[in-house]
Structures are given as structure tokens and as C-alpha cells.
């Protein structure tokens, strides 16, 4: 990847879904660039296509047409298995409902993505321990998700997302299921990751308070980018 090239390049991206025989356009001629190390919030009303855009950038869905390059790679050209490998290496995911494995402990959940790497068991344990310490949960590593609060579960999910040191962290409504205090803690953690580790973060939210944590706001309206990027945070 060229140093000067933006980390995410989207040009003339289209995506539509078929529902009941009808084609419903979701993203219409989207063009966007995101620099490496940016913390970007994607806002917009329900159905505006923000989660769809996030899914396309994260490589868990495919556009109908357009250019989509992430970290210098044209991910539209990758096969399903290539995409799976690419996601495992480069992308960290944070979901609204945490999506932790209920039968695995916090430690084991964080260890999950590392099982797809060549790290030894000892290296994995060391890295998981360090990551859990970063999110402030090293004393909860033996707890199952059902034994943790919503905020703690989301912090485990963030630990799972960053344990492989991904280039891009995508978060879909990461505070959508949390109370105000827990939401603030999670946002503070994301800011720390962005500030201290330089992780590029793309966050979908419809919460203005959450969006203020980002350095940049992108607004989607009916599948189109409505305005120029807005500066939110210094």
C-alpha cells in the first residue's frame, strides 16, 4: 500500500437488496476515503445504509458495483475464503449485542481470533492476558459472558476485536445496548485504542454522544452521503 493512499477508498459504490421480488437500493453511488488512524463515526437514520456500508468495508458483504479498497487491497476481488483470511488478519469487529460465545469464558472469547494465527499457546495466553488488562478485565478472565455486565461484555468484545492487532476496527452500534456509564467507558476505550495504538476505527452509531468520540463524522441519508465530513473532536 502506498503511504500517501487513504486506508479506505470507496468509489461509486452501489448496493441493493432483493425483497419480495423487488430491488431495494441501499447504497447509491457512495464515494468516501478514510485515512489510516482515523476514528470515523457513520451516522444516519435507520435504513440509511450505514450498517450495510460498514459490512461492505469489513468484507462480510459484497457490493453490487463500485471500487472498494481497504489497506491497499481490492476486497471486491477476493473469494469467500480469501475474504475470511483477510478479515482474520486485518479486521476487528465490535457488535451492538457483543456476540460473545456464551460457552466460552472471557479469556477464551478473546483467544478465539488468535486460533487462526500461527501463535503458540503460550504466546496466545500472553497476548490475551495483556489485551484483557488493557480493557480492564484481567480479573474477569475466567467468567462466562452471562456472569458479566453489558459493559464488561462489550469490553471483552473489544478485547477480542483488537487482540490480533488489526489495521481496522469496525464497530456497529457498540453502545446501543449499554447504559450511559457503560457506554462512556466503552467509548473512552475506543478513543484510547485510536489515540495510543493508532487503530483505524469505523463506528456506526445513531447516538450523538457516541459520535462525538470520533474525530470525523460521516452522515448517510437514504443510501447517500449527505454532507461533507464534519470535525467533531480535536
Amino acid at each position: 500500500m502506498d503511504e500517501a493512499e487513504p486506508f479506505i477508498i470507496i468509489r461509486r459504490l452501489f448496493k441493493a437488496y432483493r425483497r419480495g421480488g423487488q430491488i431495494v437500493p441501499v447504497l447509491n453511488d457512495i464515494s468516501l476515503e478514510v485515512a489510516a488512524g482515523e476514528f470515523t463515526a457513520l451516522m444516519g437514520p435507520s435504513g440509511s445504509g450505514k450498517s450495510t456500508l460498514l459490512n461492505l468495508i469489513a468484507g462480510i458483504d459484497k457490493p453490487d458495483s463500485g471500487e472498494l479498497r481497504v489497506g491497499g487491497i481490492d476486497i471486491t476481488a477476493l473469494s469467500e475464503s480469501e475474504l475470511a483470511d483477510w478479515r482474520a488478519r486485518h479486521i476487528g469487529f465490535v457488535f451492538q449485542f457483543y456476540n460473545l460465545m456464551p460457552v466460552l469464558t472471557a479469556f477464551e472469547n478473546v483467544e478465539l481470533p488468535l486460533l487462526l494465527t500461527r501463535l503458540s499457546r503460550a504466546q496466545r495466553r500472553e497476548r490475551v492476558g495483556l489485551t484483557l488488562a488493557i480493557v480492564g478485565l484481567d480479573d474477569r478472565k475466567a467468567h462466562y459472558p452471562s456472569e458479566l455486565s453489558g459493559g464488561q461484555q462489550q469490553r471483552v468484545a473489544i478485547a477480542r476485536a483488537v487482540v490480533t492487532d488489526p489495521a481496522l476496527l469496525v464497530a456497529d452500534e457498540p453502545t446501543g445496548d449499554l447504559d450511559r456509564v457503560s457506554a462512556s467507558e466503552v467509548l473512552a476505550l475506543l478513543r484510547r485504542l485510536n489515540d495510543e495504538l493508532g487503530t483505524t476505527i469505523l463506528m456506526v452509531t445513531h447516538d450523538v454522544h457516541a459520535a462525538r468520540s470520533a474525530r470525523r463524522l460521516v452522515h448517510l441519508e437514504k443510501g447517500e452521503l449527505s454532507t461533507e465530513p464534519i470535525q467533531l473532536r480535536d
Binding site: 483470511d85 482474520a88 457488535f95 460465545m101 460457552v103 481470533p113 487462526l116
Partner: protein
């Protein structure tokens, strides 16, 4: 290792559901094994039968006897070494449920059946006593018969109360031999009939024919039947094994029904297991989608489901196989004397294991394929 951990924990996630499924599997695989063993037991007698002995019976039906004077003519046929008489007695010991086979036989019967081992002293004691009888070891153990005991039988084919004195207990030459029968002197039966029912005397149920070489059995059988062709009592001669299989053939429909039921049981539990796995996989759609999001391949997801199905089936099937000897023993006790040999074969155990494996695969294949194919974005929307 991680996959194994995930499989086991997933399997134990709904303990009640898994427990009930395991019990269902245990019962089904056990029932399958017992029914297969019943079928084996049916054929046990035929398997133990010899090809070196011929049985000559009335060609019309086994119900009709043959004249006594046939014996000498059969003995005269080339290749025949000895001829013994045997008549089915069909007596009742205390109660009809105490069924066991009783045969009126000539003394040389034992010469033709070297697999029945009797001491010389007991043999001589039996030969000396016209009311004497011999009982097999299994029968003696079952009813506690001892040498010297009086064994009363109520005749059904030959009316009246018949009393015999146990003069010997014969053993089987190996563990597979059925020794649940009793035999007594054919002469005693015949002499009694001469006095009480003269028209039924001097008749023989079947002739057991000893031959020089097993290879010559077909030609000797043809020669015997040819000798009595166009007589009042035409004969049908076949090897003892064919005779026994012919006997079993009369129950072919029953055996077929038992076999069908045994497989139907497996098909039913397969459907139950498939439903369990489909429910489990459907509930975990979002989890599978999350795993795929993290980079795990569809094959990993499919293996998780197949592995869970295999783990449950291995537990249910394993418990059933482990319980088979005890269940067979209980069944044998319950069935009384109807199945003298009721032993679980290695083939049955292998079939049980194969059934458990087939259930595991059949139950998992559709949910595994579906989970592997589910689109991530759709899977993440699913609510368990």
C-alpha cells in the same frame, strides 16, 4: 483441542434436551441390538446344525410320521452309516410356559450327536432304565434337575401323565451348543402306545441318518427319497441344517417384521436427533455468523455441528453398547426357554456402533450444510 472443548460445551448447553436425546438414543440403539439378537437367536439352532447328518421326514408335513419299517430300508442305502429314530413328544412340565424340547429317541441317537457329551456311567444308567431320561446341562440348571429326580410331563400329543427318571445330564461340546432339551427312550413311548393307542404305535417322527461323507449328502438324500417314492408315506430328506432352516422359514415373516421394526426404531431416533440438531443449529445461527465474521471457515462451523451430533450419539450409542450384555441377560431371563441361545454377537455390537454413527451423520448433515452456507449479514441478524 479448542474445537473439542467447544463441541462438548455446546452439547452440554441444554442439559435436559441433551439428556433426553441421549436416553432416546440409548433406548433405540439398545432395542435395535436386542431385536438383532432375537433374529440371531432364531437362527442359532440352524447354525449349530450339521451338514453331515440327514433328516428324513414325511414329505407332506412334519406333522405326519413315517412307518417304523423304513428304518431298515434306509440303513440299506449305500453311504448310510447309522439311522436313529426321533419323535417330538411335546409334553408340559408343570406349566405350558416351562417350554422345552423333548424327544423320544433310540440309544444310537447319542452316537450321531457327539456334541452332546455324556459320561459312560450315565449312559449305561440310562440304557438300563426304560423310563430313564437325559437332560441337557442348561435345562438341568434352569429347573434344578439332578440325576435321580423324577421328571413328570403331561402329554399333549400323547395324552396322559408320563414320569421319567433323570439318569444323566449331558453337556455341550462347546459353549455354543444348546443343551436345553430332554430325551428319553423311543421304545418306552412306542410300547406305551401299543397298549393305549395301537394305531399310533410303530411310527417315527423323523429319522436321523448318519452318512460316511458330508459331500455325498445330496446323492444319499435323493436315494432315500427315491426308495419311498409312490409309497403311502413319501419322504423328504435334507441335511440337518437345511431341515432347521426350513423350520425357521415358517417364521420368515415374523423374522422379517422384527428386522423391519429394528430399523424403524433407528429411523425414528434419527428423526428425533435431526430435530435436536436442527434446533441447536438454528439457535446458534448468530454465533456461527460471528465465527465466520472472525475468519473461521464454513467447514469449521460444519465440523462443530457434526462433532456435537457425534458426541451425543457416541454417548447414547456407547451407553447402549455397554448395557447390551445386561439387557440381553435380562431379556433372556424374561423370555424363559424360548431362546436357548441368546448371545450378543460382535456383529450386532458393530451394527449398533454403525447405527449410532449413521444417526450422528444423518442428523447433522442438513444443519451443518445450512450453517456453513448462511450469509454472515443474515446470520448476525438472527436471534437465538
Amino acid at each position: 483441542m479448542f474445537m473439542l472443548k467447544l463441541i462438548v460445551r455446546n452439547a452440554l448447553r441444554h442439559r435436559l434436551r441433551t439428556g433426553l436425546t441421549v436416553i432416546g438414543l440409548l433406548v433405540a440403539v439398545l432395542a435395535f441390538g436386542l431385536l438383532q439378537t432375537v433374529v440371531d437367536a432364531w437362527y442359532a439352532g440352524a447354525q449349530a446344525a450339521s451338514n453331515a447328518r440327514l433328516i428324513t421326514r414325511n414329505a407332506i408335513s412334519l406333522v405326519f410320521p413315517l412307518p417304523l419299517n423304513y428304518e431298515a430300508r434306509i440303513r440299506g442305502i449305500q453311504g448310510v452309516t447309522s439311522v436313529a429314530r426321533s419323535s417330538w413328544f411335546g409334553g408340559v412340565y408343570q406349566s405350558p410356559k416351562n417350554f422345552f424340547a423333548q424327544f423320544a429317541v433310540t440309544p444310537n441317537y447319542l452316537d450321531l450327536y457327539p456334541e452332546f457329551v455324556l459320561s459312560d456311567a450315565e449312559r449305561q444308567a440310562w440304557l438300563r432304565d426304560r423310563k430313564g431320561c437325559l437332560v441337557g446341562r442348561q435345562l438341568a440348571d434352569l429347573y434344578g434337575f439332578k440325576v435321580g429326580d423324577v421328571l413328570p410331563l403331561r402329554g399333549t400329543i400323547f395324552p396322559g401323565t408320563w414320569e421319567f427318571v433323570v439318569r444323566g445330564i449331558f453337556e455341550g461340546s462347546d459353549a455354543g451348543k444348546i443343551t436345553r432339551q430332554m430325551m428319553f427312550h423311543w421304545d418306552y413311548l412306542n410300547e406305551t402306545l401299543r397298549k393305549s393307542a395301537r394305531q399310533r404305535a410303530d411310527q417315527v417322527g423323523i429319522y436321523i441318518v448318519g452318512i460316511e461323507h458330508a459331500d455325498s449328502a445330496p446323492s444319499i438324500a435323493r436315494a432315500i427319497d427315491a426308495t419311498f417314492r409312490n409309497s403311502l408315506a413319501e419322504t423328504l430328506t435334507e441335511t440337518e441344517q437345511a431341515f432347521q432352516l426350513g423350520f425357521i422359514a415358517m417364521s420368515n415373516e415374523i423374522i422379517a417384521a422384527i428386522r423391519i421394526v429394528s430399523y424403524v426404531v433407528i429411523v425414528i431416533i434419527m428423526a428425533v436427533m435431526a430435530n435436536t440438531m436442527a434446533m441447536s443449529a438454528r439457535e446458534r445461527t448468530a454465533e456461527y455468523a460471528t465465527l465466520k465474521t472472525l475468519g473461521f471457515r464454513p467447514g469449521f462451523i460444519a465440523l462443530l455441528i457434526v462433532g456435537e451430533s457425534a458426541a451425543i450419539c457416541a454417548l447414547g450409542g456407547g451407553l447402549a453398547i455397554a448395557a447390551m450384555p445386561h439387557a440381553a441377560s435380562a431379556f433372556k431371563h424374561f423370555a424363559g426357554t424360548y431362546f436357548p441361545i441368546f448371545e450378543v454377537s460382535n456383529l450386532t455390537l458393530a451394527l449398533q456402533a454403525a447405527c449410532a454413527l449413521a444417526i450422528a451423520l444423518a442428523a447433522a448433515i442438513v444443519p451443518a450444510v445450512r450453517a456453513g452456507r448462511v450469509r454472515i449479514v443474515e446470520g448476525l441478524r438472527a436471534i437465538g
